[in-house]
Symmetry: C2
Subunit: 321 residues, 2 copies
């Protein structure tokens, strides 16, 4: 158990940086290199390599943290890296998760590696809780996000013509949260407010606002406010890293008695919290490898005991039961 695990990081944005510092503070992990398309220097003097160099590290790195974005990086990088290394990623395009899972599961089995996929807070530990609540209460729980930036909604804004840049804050509807807690949330009641901050050419604000508010699956039918801001203010807003989330289940048993289950997280920094989740699931990769299991796994496939190794694992029933 005293052998250090050699790890690498692919992608050096906010998440990559958060993972770097988390790894450096973990005495079981040995950070070999960070692979990035942009050759930024590391504050901690970690070796930075161009992305393609990952191929030269076969046998020198055990586990790769894939810290690219879901929008374009992860679908391309995960298959490439998985050919040579065990991996953990945070793939979070909800609609594509099943298709992506099937693809990488097959690849991981061929290359005899393991991937923990969609390993963040949502999807990730929130998926675990929704599954637990659904299995126990036989009703789908309500999830509320925010206040915090939604990457998916921000991307949707940026795809609108004449939008130079933008960001979207998801804000839970307090009234809806309250009703969910008493089990009385009416079907169709808006669960969130969406506040958008947009940088655009001055002359088409009315059109841009109309277009944003009518993007299907993202804004249409949801209370949305569009604010037009200057580039400096937008930059400041885009750096807000705080976020929150809450899952609420309210159900009656067949005996007629009421039950409530609630789960919530709040964080100053989304990437720092996500990095800690990725690090926690590092032990899952180690345990899967010990059992000679290969393939793709989501947090739903990982028993909590797999998040521990060594003495802590052996003693787990005494520690946390």
């Amino acid at each position: 158990m005293n052998m250090k695990i050699n790890v690498g990081i692919v992608g050096y944005g906010n998440l990559g940086k958060a993972v770097e510092q988390s790894v450096l503070s973990n005495s079981n992990l040995n950070l070999i290199a960070i692979f990035s398309r942009r050759m930024i220097k590391s504050k901690f003097n970690t070796k930075i390599e161009p992305y393609e160099s990952f191929k030269n590290y076969s046998g020198k790195i055990d586990i790769m943290y894939l810290c690219g974005g879901s929008k374009s990086d992860l679908e391309v990088q995960t298959p490439e890296i998985l050919e040579l290394f065990d991996c953990i990623n945070t793939f979070d395009t909800h609609k594509k998760i099943q298709t992506e899972f099937n693809k990488v599961d097959e690849l991981a089995k061929i290359s005899k590696h393991r991937l923990i996929m969609s390993c963040g807070w949502d999807p990730g530990i929130f998926s675990v809780i929704r599954g637990m609540f659904l299995a126990i209460g036989k009703t789908m729980p309500n999830t509320f996000w925010g206040k915090g930036i939604s990457m998916g909604h921000s991307d949707a804004i940026r795809r609108v013509s004449n939008v130079i840049d933008g960001v979207q804050f998801t804000i839970p509807n307090k009234e809806a949260v309250k009703l969910a807690k008493t089990g009385n949330l009416p079907e169709g009641m808006p669960k969130h407010f969406r506040e958008c901050f947009v940088l655009t050419d001055k002359n088409n604000e009315t059109e841009v606002e109309y277009e944003i508010k009518n993007i299907p699956n993202y804004f249409k039918g949801e209370p949305t406010k569009v604010n037009f801001v200057e580039s400096l203010e937008l930059l400041k807003l885009k750096n807000k890293m705080f976020h929150k989330g809450e899952i609420i289940s309210n159900f009656k048993t067949i005996h007629g008695t009421k039950n409530k289950m609630q789960f919530s997280v709040s964080m100053d920094s989304n990437p720092n919290f996500t990095a800690y989740i990725m690090l926690a699931y590092t032990n899952a990769v180690i345990n899967l490898k010990k059992k000679n299991k290969t393939g793709a796994f989501t947090c739903l496939d990982i028993p909590i005991s797999y998040l521990f190794v060594g003495k802590e694992k052996d003693n787990l029933l005494n520690i946390i039961c």
Copy 2:
């Protein structure tokens, strides 16, 4: 997937009755018989058999819900029943869990059966959450119970000489909960108040109160109030089935940012809620059997995907991710 699972219940107290009604309302389960030392009639006309008759049901029952008490029933009954059936129990004597686990794990492997052990809310799903919070935040979360009856503390009261009967309500210290939520709970601050209701011979109240307040591991050092009541009032209090619990984790990452994770349950009826947890883990037994796995398992060993079967399992990533 359309084959019904044949199940039985051992023990016909509050939990056994709650499980009975839950099973009857579940279209995937077929309740064959209830095994009880006391021959009480079932409101639902379920077949009630004397305890020893379980031996005649080998091959006719797939899964047994063991609904006896942890204090004396489960340690004896689990090994006996496990020789012939897959089982789920709610063994909750925290200090004995590891020893009990080792014993029944060996027996289950010999008889080629599966046992989900300690499958309630605490231990059970609370163990899962404590494990998740510990793995992510690297600090032990705080658990608060109540207001609700503690079986262990009530048993401890009843062992005091001259006590005829008694019950103990655990009440969380609101101030401690508040401090835990901000990450400032001081070491050693009492997390709970303990309110005892005791029926005793009239003349020795002072001694009884002194003895109760000094029971080590249960009351000594914890704020405890002892009330002496009449038998009718005690009976009413002993029938209070509501309970609550909360787990709070508050941690800073190495980057200096703060994070909070919280999990809470509240229920009108402890046995009804516990029955729903046991039913949720029925699918885990089915999935373990499909994979030819035998032995004892706690909720910590069961991935959430194992709580689903059939179409729901195949479609899980789309449903809850």
